[in-house]
Amino acid sequence: MTAETQVAPPHHGLADWLWYLGVPVAALLLYLVYGQLIPISEWVTSLFPVARDSHTGEAIAFFVYDVPKVLLLLTGIVFVTGVLRSWFSPEKTRAILAGKREIAGYPLAALLGVLTPFCSCSSVPLFIGFVSAEIPLGVTFSFLIAGPMVGPVGLGLLYGLVGWQIATIYLVFGFTIATVAGFVLGRMGLERYLQDWVRELNAGPVGDLPEVRLTLVDRLKTGAEQVREIVGKVWIWVLVGIGIGAAIHGYVPEAVMLRIMGGEAWWSVPAAVVVGVPMYTNAAGVIPIVEALLGKGAALGTTLAFMMSVIALSLPEMIILKQVLQLRLIAIFLAVVAAGILATGYLFNAIL
């Protein structure tokens, strides 16, 4: 290692009091700006040389209003989530779940899947960590499904863009699918379809980490760090998603929407799921699309199915899991979760 760089000593960042002051001030600013989004966006839209009630005017208004709205919401949600999740870790979650053999393990795993911070890049070590602690496979699946399916970003944006009723429905059904799918998968005795090396793995030593004591400021820093990382990564998906949403909002006639995504056609729900799987985006990118679809009269069940499929069933995730799961197990996993999504879609198309 050559000493080519003159390295500065680690700087310790802002003083604690600045955090205690800065976070509430930032929250207040966010809130004030959020309240003024309609006048601001209408003013910006009026600068464009198009009639406000034309197709293009509608699309521009949607875009100009949604971009700051989603980014503000996203910042708030990611920050709060980052702070809350600093109380959890995969190691603690494993310790909690390892003791649970009874039925309560499934909903508990789903709950912890939402609260535990983990990125899909470490889902393989996490999976092995769980299996080696003899956490049942089904419980592990409940955990892995719930994480993306009922993530706070999706729920928070759904709440802000579409309304609390649909956010609540999504929460309840997403959580139920994670719990029930894990239970069903657990009953199927699928251990034999793990990759050979995983099955032969003797319980790896539990990472014996010293307990880290975090101060409140540490937790706030974690939140801010998350905002920088996640918002810095997903903003482009947000813009793309809002762009698509704006196009739907401005240009797609309601009659066409009703024909394609209305509740009448039986095939609309499975089609929504199939279209959703290869769409590699995230909750922040898909919810503006959902907003526009619902606004144009798409059936709720079909739209929910589309959204769940985009968020919870992603090809890259499956490719990562291929390292630990045989293809047949991945297929069964996909089929069970997809069945839950289909059931949800049909149910809402039937009752609404």
């Binding site: 290692m1 000493a3 760089t5 390295v7 000593p9 680690p10 310790h12 870790s89 995969p90 190691e91 494993r94 911070p117 983990f118 990125c119 890049c121 470490s122 393989v124 070590p125 996490l126 092995i128 960590g129 080696s132 090396w197 793995l201 790896g204 030593p205 539990v206 990472g207 014996d208 980490l209 010293p210 974690t222 390292q323 630990v324």
Partner: protein, 78 residues
């Protein structure tokens, strides 16, 4: 001479962790041998569930996220 292992399958933060370790070692004048462990199986066998993880002389000291700079100095000089 300290043997440091950085566990992680190549995410951005894993690379940032490696850079942190090297920079801290240079600054502190500690000789280090940094090894990157990227294979999922080896990562899991080391007991790391959230990456990046860090071990110093065979002892796991950190998992999940970037290590704290002050603590990192402590591990390297211990």
């Amino acid at each position: 001479m300290k043997t440091v292992k950085v566990y992680g399958s190549g995410c951005k933060r894993c690379e940032a962790t490696e850079t942190m370790v090297r920079n801290a070692a240079t600054r502190l004048g500690v000789e280090v041998d940094v090894e990157k462990v990227t294979d999922a199986k080896s990562i899991a066998m080391a007991g790391v569930m959230s990456t990046p993880g860090l071990s110093v002389d065979g002892k796991l000291v950190h998992a999940g996220g970037l290590p704290d700079a002050t603590k990192l100095d402590g591990w390297l000089t211990a």
